[in-house]
């Protein structure tokens, strides 16, 4: 049969395990979606290279924390610093010249950046896969017959912390105000004396730092670190869209919703249904509410 359905089970502990697994997956999606949202919100660029940024973060985490064996906090600091420099490089080297170009040209240039990062990582790290990171506490505990890993809780806490931090940043700091102003109307903001160039640079740097953090966290839960982990960038798309591409809090909700739906599709229908179901949910949300659940309402309808 072409569309063979898997076995539906009503066993509560299985469903609870799926729910918890889905929430854990959703937390990772939220990390990635937050990166999309940060860039899209202030620069209007759909960054298809975010998965590669994340991969870059994971490989740098390998270098600094495993090969160089730095102290954990020092290593993370160095990692995030390096990613910040890379973010500035992406803006001043490439994206700055693309301001004002057509939408699809900018999407394609992020694909070009993704290709370059992938090729350079292959050259410098080779195609062999590495063991996943084990620097965060590895234990787990049980709730009602379902296993909860400590790593998942930490990831969730980090994402929630980041979102709160960004909320506070956008609301209470001067730079955050500038970012919102530029996102709203770049010309008016520039007329008010805000330097959009600087704001964009800070945005890319922040997105890269988020990707570094995401790579570090994702490196703990992925099967192995190799060049296939860039796919997380694509798989997190539905999460970002369902939450709304302009909403920070939406990325968490979207991530959790899509993560849980995917995990249930995975458990009840089979692994191959994971991506189609997630993208179908995204498609439905697009048709009903094109800006996502919490997105900005200035979408141009056709």
């Amino acid at each position: 049969m072409l569309l063979a359905f898997g076995n539906f089970t009503a066993d509560p502990s299985v469903n609870l395990q799926l729910l918890i697994g889905g929430l854990a997956l959703g937390a990772i999606y939220a990390v990635v979606a937050l990166g999309f949202v940060l860039v899209y919100k202030s620069t209007d660029v759909l960054n298809l290279a975010h998965g590669e940024f994340l991969m870059l973060g994971a490989y740098f985490a390998l270098t600094f924390l495993v090969s160089e064996n730095l102290n954990f906090f020092l290593g993370v600091f160095v990692l995030l610093l390096v990613m910040l420099v890379f973010g500035l490089l992406v803006h001043y080297g490439i994206m700055r010249r693309m301001v004002g170009q057509g939408f699809f040209a900018i999407v394609l240039i992020t694909l070009g950046i993704a290709t370059i990062i992938r090729a350079l990582l292959l050259i410098f790290y080779g195609p062999t896969e590495r063991a996943r990171l084990d620097l965060l506490p590895q234990g787990s505990f049980e709730i009602g017959g379902a296993t909860v890993r400590h790593v998942d809780l930490i990831i969730f806490a980090v994402v929630a912390g980041c979102v709160l931090l960004f909320f506070a940043f956008f609301k209470y700091t001067r730079l955050g105000l500038h970012m919102r102003a530029v996102a709203d109307d770049i010309e008016a903001a520039a007329a008010m004396g805000i330097d959009p160039d600087k704001v964009y640079a800070m945005t890319w740097a922040a997105a890269m730092v988020m990707a570094g953090l995401g790579g570090l966290l994702f490196g703990h839960v992925t099967g192995a670190i190799d060049r296939s982990i860039e796919a997380i960038g694509l798989r997190a798309f539905p999460a970002a869209v369902v939450g709304g591409l302009t909403s920070l809090g939406g990325s968490i909700v979207g991530g959790l919703v899509v993560g849980v739906i995917e995990q249930f599709a995975n458990g009840h229908l089979g692994t191959k249904w994971r991506e189609p179901v997630a993208f179908s949910v995204m498609f439905l949300v697009l048709l009903v509410r094109p800006t996502g659940l919490w997105g900005r309402k200035d979408l141009e309808r056709v």
Partner: protein, 446 residues
């Protein structure tokens, strides 16, 4: 007013009309001479043939240039596909080149410095197939402005239809599978274009990308249901062949077992080249018609287009249908040419490859799709040659240690550099070169 005055002032001698015979003659020479050159086998050396080829190439282009209608053109003459002397001479030269190319590649000539000649034939065939698919992609994304990443989904659809019609129903009837996949591509393409009626830009891109994943699910399910993990075999007993009642055609001499199977680069070239040329001509003509102009109008401003009386919804769906039909056809052709399609034949990287092709070649230009796919397939070959043979370059160990990775990096850097500094790509460079040459020539005459 100046236009009228100058045309009135222009002397009669400037209007020139070649006879029908003169208009056709360059193209007739371009069509016949390659076969004469190809039929004379080893008694003339390669260099003599190359010399003759170049002389004929120049002569054909010259004649086509000379015998072009000039002066006051009628509306019908103005609407011709090849209107200017330059267009006509390029068309004649391209015809000649396309027909003489397989004979050159099939000859047992070894160029100096081990320049990669033997592998070129396969590359040329791939270039032709990819040019067809990329041109259709450009028609949708460039001319019609409908952003879609569901491109590879239609290649997979072409493989599915090829598998059903060409492998399961009949063993190797590609001639039926090609039109079937065009029809299937048009229908599914119009359906996949439905979100375009409601969504635009970013959101349309995401919706079509969702369609990509749904199609990949269908592809995997289809494979596992009927073919298992080895994938579909389009080779061997499933190779396309010429029916026996057509064996009287010139140039077709059946093999030992009385069949004429399409295998080997030379035979494939004569199947792929006409299909590619016809479908590219078809798309060039679509762009010139009312529908094609409607595509561009909808792209530039859909509200104004609808006020001009263009049915925007119909125009968008038609763009999706035409593009998807050609892409699905190129998918079927590629499946039969490559010989097998498996689970991992289509992935996100394939989408990226087509994006690289249309960016490097030149966005929203059908010519650019041809340049881009030629570049995409020839770059690895030339790079490999440079790595192994070229003086100085072959001494850099770093290059030969990471061949495919550096390939990928070159492509990525090129995409970024071209988008930043030369957004119209290779096709734009070609136009600039022609304009520069024209200025130079005009300057020397003055």
């Amino acid at each position: 007013m100046t236009a009228v005055e100058s045309s009135a002032a222009r002397p009669e001698a400037h209007t020139y009309r070649p006879s029908a015979f003169q208009r056709i003659l360059p193209f007739a020479i371009a069509a016949v001479v390659p076969f004469i050159l190809g039929a004379t086998t080893s008694d003339v050396s390669f260099w003599w043939k190359a010399l003759i080829t170049v002389i004929v190439l120049v002569a054909v282009a010259r004649l086509a240039w000379k015998w072009t209608p000039r002066g006051e053109l009628t509306h019908r003459e103005d609407m011709r596909l090849w209107r200017t002397p330059s267009d006509r001479s390029w068309a004649a030269a391209t015809t000649f080149g396309l027909l003489v190319l397989p004979f050159i590649l099939a000859s047992d000539f070894t160029p100096p410095m081990d320049f990669p000649w033997a592998t070129w034939f396969a590359v040329v065939n791939l270039v032709l197939i990819f040019a067809m698919g990329a041109a259709a992609f450009n028609l949708l994304v460039g001319y019609s402005g409908q952003i879609s990443l569901a491109h590879v989904a239609f290649l997979a659809l072409g493989s599915i239809v090829g598998g059903i019609v060409g492998v399961q129903w009949s063993s190797g009837n590609m001639w039926l599978a090609l039109p079937a996949s065009a029809v299937a591509g048009a229908v599914v393409g119009a359906i996949s274009g439905l979100p375009a009626l409601r969504l635009k830009h970013l959101y349309l891109l995401l919706a079509t990308f969702g369609f990509h994943f749904v199609m990949m699910l269908v592809w995997r399910e289809y494979l596992q249901e009927y073919f298992g993990f080895v994938g579909i075999r389009f080779k061997g007993e499933n190779s396309p062949r010429i029916a026996s009642w057509l064996h009287w055609l010139p140039g077709i001499d059946p093999d030992q077992n009385g069949e004429f199977v399409i295998t080997g680069q030379f035979r494939w070239y004569w199947v792929i080249m006409p299909i590619t040329v016809l479908s590219i001509l078809f798309m060039v003509n679509v762009v010139r018609t009312r529908e094609g102009r409607a595509f561009a109008a909808v792209r530039d401003r859909d509200v104004s287009a609808s006020l001009l009386g263009i049915n925007v919804a119909r125009s968008k769906l038609l763009a999706f249908a035409v593009s998807s039909a050609v892409v699905a056809m190129s998918g079927t052709l590629a499946s039969f040419y490559i010989g097998s399609r498996g689970e991992d034949s289509f992935n996100v990287q394939t989408v990226l490859n087509y994006a690289i092709i249309i960016v490097v070649g030149g966005f929203s230009s059908i010519q650019g799709a041809i340049f881009g796919s030629a570049f995409f397939w020839f770059l690895p070959e030339w790079f490999k040659w440079a790595r192994e043979e070229l003086w100085l370059v072959r001494d850099i160990d770093f290059l030969s240690d990471y061949p495919s990775e550096i390939d990928l990096a070159i492509k990525g850097f090129l995409v970024v550099i071209i988008l930043m500094f030369k957004p119209d790509g290779l096709a734009g460079m070609w136009r600039d070169l022609k304009a520069w040459l024209g200025r130079k020539l005009a300057g020397s005459q003055a």
